[in-house]
Amino acid sequence: MMGRTTLAAAVITTCVAAMPAAGYAQNVIKIGEVNSYKAQPAFLEPYKKGMELALDEINAAGGVNGKKLELITRDDNANPGDAVRVAEELVSREKVDVLTGTFLSHIGLALTDFARQKKFFFLAAEPLTDKIVWDNGNRYTFRLRPSTYMQVAMLVPEAAALKKKRWALVYPNYEYGQSAVATFKKLLKAAQPDVEFVTEQAPPLGKVDAGSVVQALADARPDAIFNVLFGADLLKFVREGNTRGLFQGREVVSLLTGEPEYMDPLKDEAPNGWIVTGYPWYGIQTPEHKAFVTAYQAKFKDYPRLGSVVGYSAIKSLAEGIKKAKSTDTEKLVAAFKGLQVDTPFGKITYRAEDHQSTMGAYVGRTKNEDGKGVMVNYRYLDGAKFLPAAAEVKKLRPAD
């Protein structure tokens, strides 16, 4: 009995000791960051490294407004309820100056609303849902990564140029997949009125029955396929598709597949000739990108993924915004971010005043299986600004501040 009690006491003591004392530091700017690190490690570990690199560079150059930047990250357990709690914790206990982060769309939206309610500055780094800047957009929320709409809009001209009539659609059955397909159908129909969507498969996220889905798509005899599956679903889909000859003689347009996060695990299964959005880090020759890759590889002995660029650019954006606002006051930050220009590894981006979306773009190209490894070829950078609706249209989409 004694042993048990002692052990119990030890456990409790350890837990209490693990509670950190809230620290107050005068000469730092605190960035609070919330993300689903344990649920989405493949995307978020490189993302975190990107943030750390930016932080190092900024602090080595003397910080912002004479203050060092400090990053405090929290895991949201892939759950909006927990995300709001850690956001409250960051704001009230850690006294952070700004909030950023989130990957999953519903968590991004929960924090978007939190920012509105608490009147607190929030830069949504990664979530893709259009609602963050449109339907649920608000004064205090900005977003960095190109949205679902933008990435689909970048692919549609390529899809229309194929002049294929019969299209099959396959997407994960949740908001991201649904809205990507809805946008694709709408924009492609506008660009090519005779288009026909012959079948739709919407497997549950992470649980695609790849064999059956591939079979069903093939049986619909489409000329081309629009795919929104990613991660483990994509790997299963591609392997089954290769085995069953689904992709023979068919064009495939695929969202995000060129991102190293999703492309590299495909290894020798990597498909040839798919039209994709992505990030060909190995071939981008602009000086700003070369500098980024060199610094990243020197620091982490690993190549950057798209997440790295997003994490890096998020911190750079915050630093630029705070510099421009000369303060971390929320209202001044909001004013500063409208039209804010930031230098990123993808070149200069602007945070649009009308919908708070950055104009960061993406690379569009074709995939190629090069010696058992997937790469993008014939790619070009498409500026996000060209794929966003005009101010008048955005105004209709967005609630008034």
Partner: protein, 632 residues
């Protein structure tokens, strides 16, 4: 949608059924003999695929694939044996279901261990040597590996059948499935039998995982994705029935293939996407099967377990010591916001702790005193939360009024589910509640126009006078305490006595004129009502609500809380909820590998306090008196 395409889809379904069956067979075997609801079975499956990946990589592909598959199955089997000997064997005498808590902790530990060892990226294994390509069937290319899988399922089924019916060991296993006390009394070493069964179950899970290597990448989501489907198969087939598991796997896999084959269909002008139905088809099957056949397709009524841990002592009126303690706690809770103005986060966290405490207490109410295990309690939490959000957003009801109406919606949900569920018992009841909860989840997840779909609803903030966190804290405190007092009042009312009589001895309770099923139904509704209160409070404290709030993950959290606190102690739910939520918050903030850390802490708690934390405290304070009372 030609006939030939249908035939090929049937073949796809057969291949899928084999994969499902391999995992489910092991789970069914383990449950049948040890009565352990092995939540970590999906993790063992995941380990199987990861280990197979590493082994094939290390031998450089090629023919090394086949030995790698077998070796990884054996490795997972050995791990299963180790887990059984070091962990589960120590807690067989804990109250029923308690082992679930230990296996839940294992899930956390194994997941983080896999992340640490294999990294975050999905790992796509090689194709199987000799079966890499496809054969032509009805003009379609069909993977030869799938043909192999189609054969593997029945082969494993046959081998298991031979093992169970034609060997002495198999006879013992079957005997233990029916009556393990008797097997023990006849001189069979139960401990080793259990170890062997657990190891065999784990081996099958590992084999199932390893055989999937050419079909799907090793990734960290596999554990939870697999466990749900595996449980469904086991329950639909009838727990402990291996042929049943195969039939169920076949049924579910074929239905999925059928849904995918149908795709989007126009019926009477309505567009139905059968493809989207695959999200929930296994749970629909389970609900239907359990309603029609309460013990699964090929299961038999569970033999009453004579052991079931220590028998619970009758509830006693709370004494002065407890009252004094509660009063002191209440005093502390009342002055807390004033004491912590410097650290406002304490108030935020306390709101979450209180809500969790009420949720877990409501679950404890049906699990403990009413004796009905619910694996789908989050449904009522979620119903309350969504009802609150919808009433405020769509009907513009005042927030204060929704706090009253939303729990009624949750109770209405419990009324319907309860009507079906109370006709079942034991694990079948638990799984039926899970099926309904998952169906509710799927509806919420899909019904974009009303529930906001997977994104959920935002803008659910409390009225202005409650915007301050301290004010909301007091509202929560008052509602939670009133709810808890009411639940306690129920337990000491004649209704509560009748309910406990129904749990302890349904036959005798029936004989003295208690309508046991009706009592259980009412208990179900009451628990749903208060879960709804917790849900509504939750929605307004977060400002948004998403499908996670009624997902199986939330239900499992509730179970963990109740078991951690102590199923047989009145305060178990609340104590467990506070411990779990607080640990979660603290550990997640301070450790990178927080899941493993949390899992490890739970494991320590499990080994230290097999009666739960509150049960342990109770034992220290009242141990002597309970003993005397028990003898009297």
């Amino acid at each position: 949608m030609s006939f030939s395409s249908f035939i090929v889809q049937v073949l796809n379904g057969l291949a899928g059924a084999s994969s499902l069956f391999l995992v489910a067979a092991g789970l069914s075997l383990i449950f049948g003999v040890t009565r352990i609801v092995n939540f970590a079975h999906g993790s063992l499956y995941m380990l199987g695929i990861y280990v197979a990946y590493s082994l094939t990589e290390s031998v450089g592909g090629g023919l090394g694939f086949w030995p790698a598959v077998l070796l990884s199955a054996i490795a997972v089997g050995v791990l299963g044996a180790v887990v059984e000997v070091l962990l589960l064997r120590r807690i067989y005498h804990a109250p029923e279901l308690f082992q679930l808590l230990a296996t839940f902790a294992l899930v956390l530990v194994i997941k983080d261990a896999a992340l640490w060892i294999w990294g975050p990226e999905e790992l796509l294994g090689p194709r199987a040597p000799g079966l890499a390509g496809s054969v032509s069937i009805l003009g379609r290319q069909f993977p030869s590996y799938d043909l192999f899988l189609i054969v593997v399922g029945p082969v494993v089924l046959g081998s298991l059948w031979l093992l169970l019916t034609r060997t002495r060991w198999g006879t013992l296993v079957r005997a233990a499935t029916q009556d393990r006390e008797m097997v023990g009394a006849l001189g069979v070493n139960q401990a080793w039998l259990f170890t062997a069964v657990f190891a065999l179950g784990a081996l099958l899970a590992g084999l199932g995982g390893a055989l999937q290597l050419p079909r799907e990448p090793a990734n960290l989501e596999l554990d939870l994705h697999t466990i749900g489907a595996a449980f469904v198969v086991v329950v639909v087939g009838g727990m402990g029935s291996i042929p049943g598991a195969y039939v169920a796997a076949l049924l579910i896999a074929e239905l999925k293939a059928l849904c995918i084959w149908l795709g989007v269909v126009e019926v009477f002008g309505f567009t139905i996407s059968f493809s989207k139905l695959t999200l929930v088809v296994e749970f629909l099957v389970m609900a239907v099967v359990l309603v029609v056949r309460p013990w699964g397709l090929m299961g038999r009524p569970q033999a009453p377990s004579r052991h079931a841990g220590t028998v619970e002592a009758p509830l006693r009126p709370v004494d002065n010591l407890f009252k004094a303690g509660a009063a002191l706690l209440l005093l502390v809770l009342t002055v807390l916001p004033a004491l912590t103005t410097q650290t406002p986060y304490v108030t935020v966290l306390m709101i979450d702790l209180l809500i969790a405490a009420l949720f877990a207490t409501s679950l404890h109410f049906i699990m403990g005193p009413a004796g009905m295990h619910s694996f789908g309690h989050a449904a009522y939490f979620g119903l309350g939360a969504y009802a609150a959000a919808l009433l405020v957003r769509s009907l513009q009801l005042p927030m204060e009024l929704t706090l009253v109406v939303a729990p009624l919606v949750a109770a209405a949900g419990a009324l319907v589910v309860g009507w079906f569920s109370v006709r079942l018992s034991g694990v079948y009841l638990a799984m039926l509640t899970l099926a309904f909860a998952q169906i509710a989840w799927a509806i919420v997840y899909q019904w974009d126009t009303v529930t906001g779909g997977s994104n959920g609803l935002t803008g659910v903030w409390p009225s202005a006078w409650l915007a301050d966190k301290a004010a909301y804290y007091y509202l929560t405190l008052v509602l939670v305490i009133l709810s808890m007092l009411w639940l306690k009042r129920c337990l000491y009312a004649p209704f509560g006595y009748a309910m406990r009589a129904g749990r302890d001895s349904p036959l005798r309770a029936d004989a003295v004129g208690i309508d046991v099923k009706r009592m259980q139904w009412v208990a179900f509704v009451i628990a749903g009502l208060f879960a709804g209160v917790a849900g509504a409070l939750f929605a307004f404290s977060k400002g948004s609500i998403s499908p996670e709030s009624l997902h199986v993950g939330k239900s499992v959290d509730g179970l963990v809380m109740v078991l951690l606190g102590g199923l047989q102690t009145l305060t178990g739910g609340a104590v467990g909820a506070v411990t779990f939520t607080w640990l979660h918050d603290t550990v997640a903030r301070n450790t990178e590998y927080w899941k493993a850390m949390l899992g490890a802490i739970i494991l320590i708690l499990v080994l230290l306090f097999p009666q739960g934390i509150a049960g342990f405290v109770r034992q220290i304070i009242y141990g002597k008196r309970d003993e005397i009372g028990g003898r009297a």
